[in-house]
């Protein structure tokens, strides 16, 4: 909204021809699409972009990726992105570079990456009945958190069900393979409809479910403190902090468990992605490792987190594991 006093000054100081040009363009003010607006920015989120920080090329910097998309150069750099939304968190226009680039993906690189992903996932086979559905997500298996989580949930008396659905569809979504994504999320939606709600260790899964009309919560919501104590650093998983707005809860839980929680550089909503978010691991595995390696250096104490991907990338412990040690 432009201040009316500014408008009257402009009208008072502008020549007639320019006034006529203004009359034509003013109705279009603010209507340029996000890719265009992002491309025209000098890269004011460069300092928080984890992909740029690892790769050290302007080519994969946020505003240059928007430039490449705008110009139709969509073979490679537009896939070098994490769904962390560090850019959006820093952007006065509230633009998520990753959200905008998704529409330009779906090419050859997407097909190669999804093949790698599909080869890597372990499928859950166990089934059980309960009030709420526990949907671990593929990365909970990959990070060996599944059995531990089941054990902790049982000991805490959570009435949970398990069912045989392997994927929330996030990797397909991120790679622009939308038909396949719709198929995956529809299967999960159908399974979830039989329960009061869904819990998951994986912030990605929770976010995708919520965005697609499934009542879902991160597993932190059902955990109860057990006394342990000590010094830890908490890493905020980017999706959990920025997209699910869960920042205070893990700190409160850790404090109630007797931990002194030390903040690393980049924490809370200003957290830094671990590198294993989204599908970057299947697009540029060496660079994903580099993001993780750099993030690990931000911590002075044992890294504790609440996401299976972050746990793997940072070689830290999930809060669930801390609990399992004493329950």
């Amino acid at each position: 909204m432009i201040n009316p006093k500014v408008i009257s000054r402009i009208l008072a100081n502008t020549d007639l021809k320019t006034k006529m040009r203004l009359a034509k363009v003013v109705p279009k003010l603010g209507k340029a699409d996000e890719v265009t607006r992002c491309m025209l920015c000098p890269n004011m989120c460069l300092h928080v972009c984890p992909v740029f920080d690892a790769e050290r090329r302007l080519t994969v910097s946020p505003s240059v990726k928007a430039r490449l998309a705008y110009l139709g150069e969509t073979d490679d750099a537009i896939y070098h992105c994490l769904p962390c939304d560090a850019c959006k968190n820093a952007c006065p226009m509230d633009i998520s570079v990753n959200d905008n680039l998704r529409a330009f993906r779906g090419g050859e690189l997407a097909l190669k990456a999804i093949e790698k992903f599909e080869k890597s996932i372990k499928v859950q086979t166990e089934e059980r009945e309960g009030r709420i559905l526990y949907f671990p997500g593929c990365r909970t298996f990959e990070s060996d958190l599944f059995d531990t989580t089941v054990e902790v949930l049982e000991k805490l008396g959570v009435d949970f069900a398990l069912t045989n659905v392997d994927c929330c569809g996030m990797p397909y979504y991120e790679l622009g393979l939308i038909d396949k994504f719709k198929e995956k999320i529809a299967k999960l939606r159908q399974a979830a409809s039989r329960y009061e709600g869904v819990i998951s260790n994986c912030p990605h899964c929770v976010h995708v479910m919520r965005e697609n009309g499934i009542k879902a919560a991160h597993i932190l919501a059902v955990l109860k403190p057990v006394k342990i104590g000590g010094d830890v650093s908490y890493h905020d998983p980017c999706i959990l902090a920025r997209k699910l707005d869960v920042v205070k809860e893990p700190r409160k839980l850790l404090a109630e468990m007797g931990f002194e929680v030390h903040e690393p550089v980049f924490s809370g909503k200003d957290t830094h992605c671990c590198g294993y978010g989204g599908v970057y691991r299947y697009v540029a595995p060496d660079m994903a490792e580099k993001v993780a390696e750099r993030r690990r250096k931000h911590f002075d104490y044992e890294i504790v987190t609440a996401c299976p991907s972050c746990k793997m990338a940072l070689k830290g412990k999930d809060i669930i594991e801390l609990m399992a040690d004493v329950l």
């Binding site: 020549d15 021809k17 320019t18 920015c41 004011m44 300092h47 090329r57 080519t59």
Partner: protein, 445 residues
């Protein structure tokens, strides 16, 4: 030639790419005239290759090879410069310094050693976490680099209290156009020639800065603000001069047009920040010194918005051209420079808005930062006319050519008039250090 040079650089183990996406990434700096071209899907320029050295030695290798083949080299940090310095008009190799990205903090001596490619916002965040600050805060902090700051003689929002980049610099390492590495021992100060200064503001003409050692400061315990409003620029400038005795860390004067945009007020506004030990006493004294009316909250409003440049993205797609022109002047010329330059910009047909703020202050004077937006029939001729009229008016009324954005290609026609006898000296230095004229060809000279 270029193909051979690329092959040789590659076989020396330095990452270099001829991939179209990398070339597009290095096709321009942030001069506003490039943006309408991009909107039309045109490239302002295109390098033949982009090199990504990771060490000073790798930068040296790139320059050795380029020098041997006479291939033009354009030096890139974050590409946020606005004076058309890095744009690779003759193709050649765009050398990125971003791979030089180490940070070493020396808390005992209050220093930081940083690679040229370290991005300012990240460096500041890392320092803050350890209880320190560089207090070098250009508006481009989030997208500019340490090497870029040195090469452009950058200035930040806290320069009034902490100095510009040259005042923060302890030592630097640079690579000459023939690949020779120059480095000096870091020390708090030394007599004798301070030759590192030839790289400060050299805009990549004389060498590539690869690392810098800079001063750091403890994060101030106290951070207090002052906001004052005035009826005209004259009283605000006089108060700013008086306030310099109280050592503000930051001070700015916004004219009526900018006050309207930031604070919804049609008066002129002075804001100041006092920080560190004794800040409260200095703030109280400042309130007694100023002749304007002390008001609430304007400094905080500006501090919150100080890195927001999103208006560019909103108006450029509509056909607007937007730019800023910063000039320094002594106190005695301040009112004249402010009034006359604004009048000159507003007099160009197509100008929609023109305004100014004073952004950096010294014992002897200040910097005015003019902002204009135009919706002309022809962007390039309008832009040329605004720049010509603004700069010539500044020079005629006691203002200078540039305070901190630099010369590049945009202002080079006035450089000789600005620096007089030092201009041929600069040309001599260029021809001695860069005999084949490979580095940032067309910039400044």
């Amino acid at each position: 030639m270029i193909e051979k040079a690329v092959e040789e650089i590659k076989s020396a183990g330095v990452e270099i790419s001829t991939n179209m996406e990398d070339r597009i990434a290095y096709c321009k700096d942030y001069n506003p005239l490039h943006l309408p071209k991009l909107l039309k899907k045109e490239f302002p320029a295109l390098p033949h290759a982009a090199a990504f050295p990771k060490t000073t030695e790798e930068v040296s290798k790139v320059l050795q090879v380029a020098n041997a083949y006479g291939v033009p080299v354009y030096v890139f940090g974050g590409g946020s410069g606005v004076i058309d310095a890095a744009t690779p008009y003759e193709g050649g190799i765009a050398v990125s310094t971003l791979g030089l990205d180490f940070v070493e903090i020396d808390e005992e001596n209050m220093l930081v050693r940083a690679g040229a490619g370290v991005v300012g916002g990240r460096l500041e965040k890392i320092l803050n976490h350890r209880g320190f600050t560089l207090r070098h805060s250009p508006q481009s902090l989030y997208c500019s680099t340490v090497g870029g700051w040195v090469a452009t003689a950058a200035s930040g929002q806290f320069s009034t209290g902490y100095g510009n980049i040259e005042n923060l610099l302890i030592s630097l390492t640079a690579v000459l156009p023939d690949g020779e590495v120059v480095v000096e021992r870091a020390t708090p100060r030394r007599a004798g020639p301070d030759l590192k200064r030839i790289f400060v503001g050299s805009e990549g003409l004389l060498g590539v800065v690869t690392e810098a050692v800079m001063k750091i400061f403890p994060l101030p315990e106290e951070f207090l603000t002052l906001s004052v409003e005035y009826e005209g620029i004259g009283d605000a400038v006089r108060d700013a001069k008086a306030l310099m005795q109280l050592k503000p860390a930051l001070m700015r004067i916004f004219d009526d047009e900018e006050s309207l945009r930031y604070f919804d007020s049609e008066s002129f506004t002075l804001i100041a920040v006092f920080e560190g030990k004794g800040a409260s006493a200095r703030l109280e004294e400042a309130k007694k010194v100023v002749s304007g009316e002390v008001v609430d909250g304007r400094a905080e409003k500006w501090l919150e918005k100080r890195f927001d440049v999103s208006d560019i993205s909103r108006i450029v797609p509509l056909g607007f051209i937007f730019d800023t022109i910063e000039v320094a002047c002594f106190w005695r010329d301040a009112e004249k420079v402010y009034t006359e330059v604004l009048k000159a910009i507003r007099g160009v047909e197509g100008t929609v808005t023109a305004s100014a703020h004073a952004s950096h202050f010294y014992e002897s004077g200040l910097c005015f930062y003019f902002t204009f937006a135009g919706l002309p029939a022809d962007i390039e001729s309008y832009y040329e006319e605004v720049w010509r009229k603004a700069v010539e008016t500044s020079l005629r009324n006691g203002g200078n050519l540039t305070h901190h954005h630099g010369v590049g290609r945009l202002r080079k026609r006035w450089l000789s008039a600005e620096i007089g006898g030092y201009y041929p000296l600069l040309r001599d230095l260029k021809s001695i250090l860069d005999r084949r004229n490979i580095l940032n060809r067309g910039v400044m000279l």
